[in-house]
Amino acid sequence: MRRLNPLSGALRVGRGLLQGAFFGVIAGTTLAGFLGLPPAAAPLLVPALALVLGGFALARYYRFTYEIEGDTLRVESGVIARQSREIPLGRIQNVDSRQGVVNRVLGLSVVAFETAGGATTEATLDAVAESEADRLRRLVQRHGEFEETEPAGEADADGAGASADPTARADERSGRVDSEELFNFTTRDLLTYAVVSVRPAAPALLLVGLPLGIDALLTVIRFNLGLVGARPTVSLSVLDALGPPRLVALVVFTALQFLLAALVLSIVLTVIEYYDFRLVREGDDLRYERGLLRRYSGTIPLSKVQTVSIRENALMRRFGFATLAVETAGYSGGNRESGQGVAIPMAPRPVVYDLAADIESFGDLDFERAPTRARRRYAARFAIVAGVVTAVGYAVDTFLFGSGYWWLLLSLFLVVPPAAHLRWRHRGIALDDDVLATRTGFWRQTTRIVPYYRVQTVFVGRSPFQRRRDLATVTADTASTSTIVGGSARAYDVDDERATQLREILRERLYSDLLARKHDRDA
């Protein structure tokens, strides 16, 4: 059995000592008086707690051992509650490693192994040397290749290229052959991507961060007040002195500044996340690396890909770019970084479609749209929203402002028909030879491609409003992650009869494709 890197152990112990001392100081100053301890006890608490936490960290380091034996990964851990875990290598979906700033300096990385079950990462080695991380990754990778050559192997690897002698392939592997760079980001591309891919979370993050930069905030507010010709002091009474036009100018100006700041924040975050992004194909695995401060890298075995998603927001679509995301059954839980599973952050659409078709073979996708009565449904829904907004606006205006301009909100109804049309136009479903593809979203269009043999459960749902118009939503569930990005392929508002038909088709194709793949493997 192997231990984690001694440097990381020392780091943990150091951190434990510091934390213990810190708690000691707090306990010594607050608790001693409260519990009526003698004054001499307070200084003693500091080294005592430091030793306890440091010792615990040391014990944890010594208890944590791991090893790849044959075709299982064994991990033993825990000081008080002991745990030992075995993971069959064939069941590992992804191997990821990440390096924080400290670990990068020390040449260490944290390796995480993901399998399909469970709510959290199945095994995390925090931390091992870079070379050891590499060795582990290769062992898992190589295992996947051996399995392909075993006819009875039950891993869902592709049957292709199974004739080579296993040992020969293993030798080849250790010589670092057949790695081909598929994609990398130049600085210019990265900046374009950072500008184009607006993060919806950026304004919220900025809002949370504002109190930290309170001085800068006050300076900006004073500057804004000066700009509209008010006294540059920060208080609510200043606002009373301003007339409505100047007040509106102030609000618009401040809002613009806020959005600009959010945009800059979004750009900075994206650059930090995707700096020096590289995607490499190593045999049957995709391997990515990214990050400015923290480096992330990981492998995605192509044979374990569940769904492929192509995302384009309105801006990207205008300029012919798209994002490619690949999902396996590995990641679970919603607390993953947004970039997880992204194979190509942004590339020209043909490049993205080519790689997607390389992963799951499909031809030109011919999307069938929902019947036009679905468009009427969207129009009705948007009209209700516009109506509610207008009513609320009317109430607020009459009771609070009394400006009498509430009817301006009625212009929202003008937007309803185009909005309904766009939503309808950007939704569709395509049945290709081997894959099912669904598409939705105008602002952020997502095209999800699911091979028939990956479909799990099929749901056909009809809400009361859909039943009125004989429409249904067909959901094909897959084993991939249930985050916002991931999950199931959904065909919205298809004709009711067509929905039942789709359910039957999906079920038939699941079985016939599974059998065909089994035949391929056995042959």
Partner: protein, 153 residues
């Protein structure tokens, strides 16, 4: 297509009655400190909620159907949003029968079917007679085993 045991309506209504009792209790407690509502109002609220629950249970029972088809388990359910679900037997990971305390008093059992999917990864068939639940579980286990064409993920 098979429907659920009629007694499940009672079970569902009882469940709604219990949970709305908790809800009403919370409202009454919060009420004590902020403003005082008459107790009659709380009782009326509870009665209305329970009655709604009973109506819902009747409809839910009328709609609930399931069937073991050739290659998939097929279910129809849902009062407001109606959902047809088909679970291919190859995708079944494991099957449980469960009997909670309330279910035991009603003399009923449920079967839970797990798949590896992300959404609705576990599907419950409630309101079965215990013998039927066991039988169904064994039947599903056999069907899942027979159709083992590949890895379930």
């Amino acid at each position: 297509m098979e429907s659920l045991h009629p007694r499940v309506r009672l079970l569902w209504t009882g469940r709604t009655a219990l949970s709305s009792l908790v809800l009403v209790g919370l409202v009454v407690v919060a009420d004590r400190f902020v403003l005082s509502l008459p107790v009659e109002l709380a009782v009326a609220g509870w009665v209305i909620l329970t009655a709604l629950g009973a109506v819902h249970a009747v409809f839910a029972h009328r709609i609930w159907r399931f069937e073991l088809q050739d290659d998939a388990l097929f279910l129809v359910r849902g009062v407001v949003t109606r959902t047809d679900t088909s679970v291919p037997y190859v995708r079944v990971q494991h099957v449980d029968t469960t009997r909670g305390p309330v279910e035991r008093t009603a003399g009923l059992a449920s079967v839970v079917i797990y798949t590896a999917g992300s959404r609705g990864a576990d599907i419950t068939i409630p309101g079965l007679r215990p013998e039927r639940a066991t039988e169904l579980r064994e039947r599903l286990r056999d069907l899942a085993g027979e159709s083992e064409a590949t890895d379930a993920v």
